[in-house]
Amino acid sequence: MSAPAPALAKPERRTVAVRLADVAVTVAYLSLVFGLLLVFFPVSFPRIIVHSWQSGNLIVAMLVIALTLDAYLYFRIAYLLSARPTALAAACLGSLPIIVVGGCSILLQSAVAQTLAVDLPNPQARIGEEVLAHTYLGLVSGVFLPFLVIRLLQQFRATNSARQS
């Protein structure tokens, strides 16, 4: 059996190599938008967030934003590099934002419970600020940390394959 002609052989597409610098700019813009909304709408923006938390919609909204941004960033990197997305990265991007945002939500419930348990002045305003801080930290973590994990896994695999070869 003869080898396939070079012109007919399909070129091997490399997999997406995630660099944190590619993700950092988008997360920075997300952060700046949050900051600007806080500066220019210091009352109404936090009120919207607290109302969504009270009605139970905040975690869903955070998940939608984090998952959408993660998918957008990953496919954008794949498109720019003309590289093939991997199942490992897809699994990380599908599960890690849910774990991170869910974890932040548990921490928030715990912080709110502690605020109410300790006899502090002005508890409602304090809870509002706690919700605001957790929303921001949860959003940034939900977008950034999955890419950090993918990056570390890719480096680990590259090191392993280099050692084996």
């Binding site: 610098a21 950092a24 813009y29 900051g35 912080a111 600020e129 950034f144």
Partner: protein, 144 residues
Amino acid sequence: MAEWMSVKWLLWISLYLVLGVFVPWATALAWAHQHGSDLRPRPRQLFQRGELGLVGLVLVISVIWNLLQSQYMPQTRALGAVLLAVIGTMAGAVWIETYCRHSTGMASNDERAWRDSRNLAFLVFSVVVVVEILLDRFAKVAAL
């Protein structure tokens, strides 16, 4: 209206930008002038080996300290401190990796080191600005 007029966080971040970026650049120009050199480094040349990542790491340390001193609940302080530490470490890692590559003679791309450190420093700056705004808001609520 009066609340968002508070620009303490803006002055604070400007201090870091001036001392961390502008002063080293001005010092390099002053050195060139003093020694009669034609050297006119642009900030990009001065920080081409990822030094902006180090500036970001130093900035993060001070914000973690501010966060730990705040009256937020321990869960919030822990979450913020860990996130800031991770971002700062990643920014600092760009400088470390470039240094290691140069020191061991491995292939190094200064263009990529500059781009990575600039992007991660931008992330650090944007995150610490928002954390300082949140800290400022919480301090006002706690003082009521």
